[in-house]
Amino acid sequence: MNWEPVIGIEVHVELRTASKMFCGCAVSFGEDPNTNVCPTCLGLPGALPVINATAMDWIIRIGLALRCEITSHSVFHRKNYFYADLPKNYQISQYDLPVAINGSFDVTVDGEELRVGIERAHMEEDTGKSLHQGEGGRIHAATATLLDFNRSGVPLVEIVSRPDIRSPAQARAYAQDLRALVAELGVSDARMEEGSIRFDANVSVRPYGSAELGTKVEIKNMNSFRSLERAIAAEIDRQVGLGERGETVIQETRHWDEDAGVTHSMRTKEGSSDYRYFAEPDLVPLAFDADSVRLLQSDLPELPADRRRRYAAMGLDEHAVAVLAASDSSLRGLFDLTVEAGSDVAVAANWITGEVIAAVRRAGQSLDDTPLTGAGLADLLSMVGDGLLSSSAAKDVLTGVIRGEGSPREVAANRDLLQVSDRSVIEAAVTQVLASQPEAIARYRAGEGKVLGFLVGQVMRATGGKADPKLVNEELRSQLG
């Protein structure tokens, strides 16, 4: 039987706003425990939540970047459950009126584009951290649990995809691309190792061709992109195994065990938890005005998928598109400016992703700190194109420009790197060299083609290395007949 995996991914993104979602405590990673806390995020009696307006702007930006509809009327709900790191024993979250719905996100997997539907994005508050003391750091063998509430109340955006993903590799690509998008929007550090972005997967399998969905299982504790891919693969295997043996898949939450390479059942529950959601009475329902949303939309950076398409439309090949799209924003900005200044697209991409990166690294700086501009780079490339500089000379000129020695033309002149392309000069030099190399001429005419290389070298030496070797070659052939 052929089985089709059906996968949905839930992402939690911690926003790096200055303060928490419902109080003024600082959002900061790595501080001493329980130092960024107040009555509200500690759930002290009498405390009340107040909405962080910047966080709401940022979730709207995320929703717009995911091509979602921003709901005109949005409500916070209380999600009720007891847990020691949830101070109020309810989490302020969203239920049936989330901020953003019905979007999509384009992901590249092995050179192909996959469009993943986005069900919704909503806002909630993060919980505190439980540090279980004892074997393995898990609750089962814990002798005690330490609670740190610095994270309690940090704004958390939950993004739920539609189950449009069909393989572990696609899931990984989705996760990676979504991470990159969020980081590019500047709303989150999005570091899995720090927990500022977290992924859970919902996995089910069904016979190929079936329209019905199988029972889905939630997988948690995937702490790297690699373990995400492995965990989903392992779970698919497990479910397929059950299916082949005619056994049923139980709807449950399973915990990924990185060392053992398997998922373990976390708890067996009949049906799903009853969170007794009701609208948060301490907060007034939100209404997003169309003008503000439009402003946020216009302020969005170019989205990765749109950028890839733009590069491809410019004529860049697949490899160049991939490399350039994956580069950091200052490099990409330089590319755009260089092309704008008139450079050939492929040449510019080639130089930027190769020599420019290397030269900047050699200088020990970041690109933004160097005086290299798009216009300057375009000029440099045109000098190469016009034969005024050899490729190797151009690399030296680039180094000089980055070091602040001046514009490409100034550096080329100062360092005496300008290539000689004047045909009359080359003609004269060739004539002169040939006059002193009768033996070489004889050998060439006798059929030793490689003597030409020697002669080119001689002409290069005679011109101080500055002659355009291509023209020298042509002139030699012409004079040798």
């Binding site: 009555p39 002290l44 009498g46 009340l48 009720n80 109020k88 007794r276 009701f278």
Partner: protein, 498 residues
């Protein structure tokens, strides 16, 4: 048999209203420290019997009174309340001072912060005498649900003071403070005010910050004043009302002028007596007193009528689904993890369960269970959802009614003070005590109870005035007129004894 005596007690500083005291403090014929000693004296004479307070902060109060005297001596009072002794209900957070909500689960808990209302009172120079007794977590109508013993009614200590702000109402009635604050979720300021013969007011929802008020039912809770007179209640209200950025449900506009409305009389005002809040279950003396006041209001120039509000018949049921539902979530934080009582267990779940079982009293437990049930899957629509829909109908009905009347009136309570223990065996009969007051909590409209007389047993009767949202100016105007007409000067007999 309750006693009552007309006129004031033996001290010349006895039984001053806030208005009178403020005048004397400013003319320096009275000092704040002196006034404080008088009320502390009154408290020490009566507390053993009445138990109005859970905490009296002698040191803090004396320090505040001394500071007030400095300002008053320099002729720079902070305002009307500067140097005036007040108390707040023990569900208001007071920094460093025990805040128990009359519950074992918070026994000994000292908050690290002040409620906004407390901050504003301190900024107004008020002298905080202490924290008053209440029904546990504000759930009750008699203060018998306190984990630390009930408060007794100064008019007859064998009877309840009402609840849940029974301690505040009794403290004002007996003169242990000149003013106090309570919280009103289903009538918890107005009903005890009525039973104790003082003025008690619940503002429009959102006019007074809830930051630092330990939440019972978030969409219903409001802080309000209790005082001997309508003018005193207004002084107290104005000192604490107004926008607060720490409370997202706080109304963002500043308070309008209200004081100039107090003397405007009843001419041209349309007063509607609520039909549904009378008849069977209402003490005859109460109904008679209310009817009598209606006649007097008409003589004063008001246009009186009877108004039917059918949704009031189901208001109690809606309330007893909404309030417990919200409280089940609001009280979930009491779990032994971060503060308050902790009973050990072998797992976290066990610790939480044992802590809550031991820490919460029976009424609180009952409401948490009721509320959890009303929100649970399969029942939400029939219970919580339905109750919220009824609430909307009630609001619409009230808004319609206010097209034809300016204020609505009724008794503040169907009966006068009942005996301790009379209703504790039957929770439902206790719930019925709130039938007059609950509609204003559901609608968020302001309402006030004004004492208008005594029943044959010498127990106070409260007259309730209700107004539309933000209708405080007309609310206080009518209340002041009622007060003038009632000429209620009686004082509890216990006052004469001190």
């Amino acid at each position: 048999m309750a006693g009552h005596s007309p006129g004031s007690g033996s001290h010349e500083t006895d039984d001053l209203t806030i208005g009178e005291a403020a005048t004397r403090l400013r003319s320096r014929s009275l000092t704040s420290s002196g006034l404080l000693e008088v009320v502390l004296d009154r408290a020490s004479m009566t507390e053993a019997e009445l138990h109005c307070f859970l905490t009296i902060d002698h040191e803090g109060a004396r320090t505040a009174a001394a500071a007030a005297d400095d300002r008053l001596a320099a002729g720079r009072p902070l305002g009307q309340l500067d140097g005036i002794p007040v108390a707040v209900k023990d569900n208001f957070c007071t920094r460093g001072l025990a805040t128990t909500c009359s519950s074992q689960i918070l026994a000994g808990y000292r908050p690290p912060y002040d409620a906004t209302v407390v901050t504003r009172l301190r900024q107004a120079g008020a002298v905080l005498v202490g924290k008053t007794n209440l029904d546990e977590f504000a759930m009750g109508s008699s203060t018998e649900n306190s984990a630390f013993g009930p408060t007794r009614n100064p008019w007859d200590p064998s009877r309840v003071p009402g609840g849940s702000s029974g301690g505040s109402a009794a403290a004002v009635a007996i003169g242990s403070v000149l003013g106090a604050f309570g919280s009103d979720t289903g009538g918890s300021i107005r009903q005890p005010a009525a039973l104790c013969g003082v003025v008690g007011m619940k503002p429009t929802y959102g006019l007074v910050s809830r930051y630092g008020l330990v939440a019972f039912a978030s969409s219903l809770d409001q802080i309000g004043p209790l005082g001997r007179t309508v003018s005193d209640a207004l002084d107290l209200f104005e000192a604490v009302a107004g926008p607060d950025p720490l409370d997202a449900t706080s109304y963002p506009e500043p308070l309008p002028d209200i004081r100039s409305h107090l003397d405007r009389g009843m001419e041209g005002l349309r007063v509607g007596l609520v039909e549904e809040l009378g008849g069977e279950g209402y003490e005859p003396a109460v109904s008679a007193a209310v009817g009598d006041m209606m006649a007097r209001l008409e003589k004063e120039g008001a246009e009186v009528s009877e108004v039917s509000l059918p949704s009031f018949e189901v208001a109690l049921s809606a309330y007893y689904l909404i309030a417990p539902a919200e409280c089940s979530a609001n009280l979930a934080r009491f779990d032994g993890v971060r503060y308050g009582l902790r009973v050990g267990g072998s797992t976290v779940e066990e610790m939480m369960a044992l802590t809550r079982a031991e820490g919460f009293g029976p009424e609180v437990t009952r409401r948490i269970l009721l509320g959890t049930y009303a929100l649970s899957a399969g029942y939400y629509d029939a219970f919580y959802g339905q109750a919220q829909r009824v609430r909307t109908l009630l609001i619409n009905e009230l808004n319609d009614a206010y097209r034809n009347v300016d204020v609505l009136v009724s008794p503040a309570s169907p009966t006068t003070a009942f005996a301790l223990g009379a209703k504790t065996q039957d929770p439902l009969s206790m719930y019925l005590a709130d039938v007059c007051t609950i509609p204003s909590n559901l609608s968020g409209h302001p309402a006030i109870s004004v004492p208008i007389g005594l029943d044959p047993d010498g127990l106070p009767i409260g007259f309730q005035v209700m107004a539309p949202a933000l209708g405080e100016p007309r609310l206080f105007r009518v209340a002041a007129a009622v007060e003038r007409l009632a000429e209620f000067k009686a004082r509890p007999a216990m006052v004469g004894r001190s």
